[in-house]
């Protein structure tokens, strides 16, 4: 069996890679991939802590819902990226300041 700390270390590695991709890249597709990595890190955390208490499976169901919402979010975000590319011919996120505060 895998120790809990190993699973959490893997989750932190995924979260850090995702945060690195979101914070350093300007391509929105790469940023989306980073967001997905962070969501999967959260899922791994939920599953690993759920397996500490085998009589409860709420966290596992919650992870299923997170996967579902992540799929919807990816579909919308990719559609927005396609729309931006069609309108401007470029998807560099730093060039779009229309929604900036």
């Amino acid at each position: 069996m895998i120790p809990q700390s190993y699973v959490l270390a893997f989750s932190i590695l995924l979260l850090s890679i995702g945060a690195l991709g979101v914070m350093t890249k300007r391509n929105p597709i790469v940023m989306l991939m980073g967001i997905e990595l962070m969501l999967n890190a959260a899922n791994i955390n939920l599953i690993s802590f759920s397996r500490l208490f085998p009589e409860g499976f709420t966290a596992q169901v919650f992870a299923l819902f997170i996967i579902l919402v992540a799929a919807a979010e990816s579909a919308i975000a990719l559609a927005i990226v396609v729309r931006i590319f069609r309108n401007h011919g470029i998807v560099d996120i730093s060039l779009f300041e229309g929604l900036r505060w």
Binding site: S5, L8, F57, V61, V69, A75
Partner: protein
């Protein structure tokens, strides 16, 4: 460019800090392994039936929104 490097350093430092915290935490040495696929499947349709249906509606709305967003404008 320097801000991007700074943000990358922040992300890596966060990972190292979090690993430092969990490496010293008193977790159990092994994770319990109890198959509970049946219980999860039953719970999805009984306890979490309403959230399951709401989530399916969210998926449908997201798919239609994505199709609407990427449609070709016919002038």
């Amino acid at each position: 460019m320097s801000f991007r490097v700074l943000r990358g350093v922040i992300a890596i430092a966060f990972g190292l800090l979090a690993y430092t915290f969990i490496s010293g935490a008193p977790f159990p040495s092994e994770i319990l392994w109890v198959p509970n696929v049946d219980e999860i499947g039953a719970a999805l349709f009984k306890i979490y039936g309403v959230p399951f249906e709401v989530a399916s509606l969210i998926i449908v709305v997201a798919v239609f929104a994505a199709i609407y967003l990427v449609r070709r404008d016919v002038a």
